[in-house]
């Protein structure tokens, strides 16, 4: 009944040897918040840059609010807002001047730009600060201002590129609340993040992107269901996971190794019976896990199951994900189907 607000088909983009987008296809329904989840890497940001007309794709097509990004980029720009990593606020101008300037560049008459800036600034709670230069703002205030500027044109689609990257937890939660408040006015939000918690908290639907491809899509619940109702987590002495994975696969299970925590994770569709079965099998092979737990799956587990590696890097990792053979690589193709 409702036309999709974003349609992406077979999008490809290379930067030298790095394939940022590898035939990505995606459909975003109108309304609500759509989360784009993926590891630190060029994929998500590249997609945002293509959809916001900052970058031309090598191949494929994309429509935003019914407008083709290639044939009518200006039409797309009139319908979108962009905030986050890619766009910046001016440090020397005041918060108000920033929002007004962006309003003017959306084509608003001066008085209207002024009126809307006042309205937006009221909504982001910059108490006492709208007329101070932005360089005096905290990180959280800057992000909120960035958000206000991106909304001043009343966009149909708002792109938020890692809006909370680098913020402390309290500021992050503030911003989540604000994003939730600001939406609901008919704007569709496309949000990229590498924080599972963020996607889980904010997004109505989530797409999981890895190595420039879509590896999973659905609501948070649907994605969790793909792992099953529960997850078995095994802690191994000495960290030797090879034989364990082999034994469990022999038993017809689909375990993953989490390099980050050094644990083996296993979807448990049958709950405790899966746990028992796994332990029996390992016992028969002479493997004794140091610990075994049964718990509810998180998006992190989903990501691990879909991609073979964790979504959240510990600390700030390199910009590009390491390539080469990894445990989950073969399974990724299956998961994508």
């Amino acid at each position: 009944m409702n036309d999709p607000i974003i349609e992406v088909e077979g999008l490809a983009k290379d930067f030298g040897k790095v394939r940022a987008l590898d035939g990505l296809s995606l459909t975003v329904p109108p309304g609500g918040i759509y989360g784009l989840l993926g590891p630190n890497g060029p994929g998500k940001t590249t997609l945002i840059r293509v959809l916001t007309t900052l970058l031309e794709p090598d191949a494929g097509s994309a429509r935003v609010a019914g407008v083709d990004v290639r044939t009518d980029p200006d039409g797309v720009r009139a319908r979108i807002g962009l905030a986050g990593q890619a766009a910046a606020v001016d440090e020397v101008l005041t918060g108000r001047e920033n929002v007004e300037m962006v309003g003017r560049l959306y084509g608003l008459p001066r008085h209207e730009a002024r009126r809307r800036a006042q309205e937006m600034l009221g909504r982001i709670h910059l108490v006492g600060a709208p007329d101070r230069p932005v360089r005096t703002y905290s990180g959280g205030m800057r992000r909120r201002l960035d958000l206000a500027a991106s909304l001043v044109g009343r966009p149909q689609v708002l792109f938020l590129d890692e809006p909370t990257a680098g913020l402390d937890p309290a500021s992050r939660r503030d911003l989540w609340e604000l994003i939730g408040d600001l939406v609901g006015t008919g704007t569709t939000v496309l949000l990229t993040t590498q924080y599972l918690e963020e996607a889980d908290q904010l997004a109505d639907r989530i797409a999981v992107v890895d190595h420039g491809r879509l590896v999973g899509e659905g609501t948070g619940e649907q994605l969790k269901d793909r792992v099953g109702g529960a997850v078995v987590e095994l802690r191994l002495p000495g960290g030797d996971h090879g034989p364990t994975l082999a034994a469990l696969r022999d038993a017809g299970m689909d375990p993953s190794y989490d390099e980050h925590t050094g644990r083996v994770v296993l979807g448990a569709p049958d709950g405790s019976r899966t746990l028992t079965k796994a332990l029996r099998r390992l016992d028969a092979e002479g493997i004794n896990p140091a610990g075994a737990t049964l718990r509810k799956p998180t998006l992190d587990d989903v990501f691990l199951a879909l991609t073979g590696h964790r979504a959240s890097p510990s600390g700030s990792g390199p910009d590009l994900p390491a390539r080469g053979g990894r445990p989950g690589q073969a399974r990724r193709a299956e998961a994508a189907r």
């Binding site: 036309d3 840059r49 916001t52 007309t53 900052l54 970058l55 609010a65 019914g66 200006d74 039409g75 720009r77 009139a78 319908r79 979108i80 962009l82 990593q85 890619a86 766009a87 910046a88 606020v89 001016d90 440090e91 020397v92 101008l93 001047e97 300037m101 962006v102 003017r104 560049l105 959306y106 084509g107 230069p133 500027a149 044109g153 149909q156």
Partner: protein, 279 residues
Amino acid sequence: MSTATATIPRRPTGLRRAASDTAVVARRNLVRTIRLPEVLLTSSTMPVVFILMFTYVFGGAVQATLPPAAAGRYANWLVPGLLAQFALFGSVATASGLAEDLASGVIDRFRSLPMARSAVLAGRTLADLVRSTVTLTLMLAVGLAIGFRWQTSLPGLLAGLAIVLAFGYAWSWVMALLGLVVRTAEAVQAAAYVGVFPLAFTSSVFVPTQTMPGWLQAFAANQPLTVATNALRGLLLGPGALHPGQTVGGQVVLALLWSAAIFAVASPLAVRRCRRTVS
């Protein structure tokens, strides 16, 4: 889809929109210039130091080689030359300003907005033109204070200033291109000065070109900064300040042609580069 289109107010297209967007961007750049006084201070200190240093250090030695139109004062010869030179040097700010905006992400913000594509660069170069005008006015005031006197008329002075400002404006499009290609403010400054300093010293800015060796003279007498300097000097000091055989009108036309040619080549390249630039 048709309903979505109907809710979007279509912006006026063409020149009106480009002019309005350019004004918004130019205003932003000027506000930055005014709020960052250290930038304005450093960019106007160098020209003043040049005027004082060259007048008092080299003035005595160079005096004898000057044509009679200088009325025996090196300041009369030097100030028009330095005005032309700093109209050129002022354009370097375009390069570093753009590089800075690219690095900070401001350019990306602009490029994601439904504004005229040309406004990012036009707003930048126009703001830099205003700044250059302020710098040259200040230089003129310092020049007058140390004895510079123009020998012709006030309209001659204003026309001369307009010509060198147009010359500087044309160069700011070259610098825009440089800023978009090099992309780091410090590297851009270094690269720009590697180009403009030799141009300044192999011109008629400081000394008449006749005393240079023949091979250099051929270049020095015809390069764009010399032509712009000659045009201004002719308009301020009269035809006696020029080579025999050169006329004030001829140098003015040449200076305008140089400016037009530089602008015509650099501006489309810069605009194209800005459209494609990815940060």
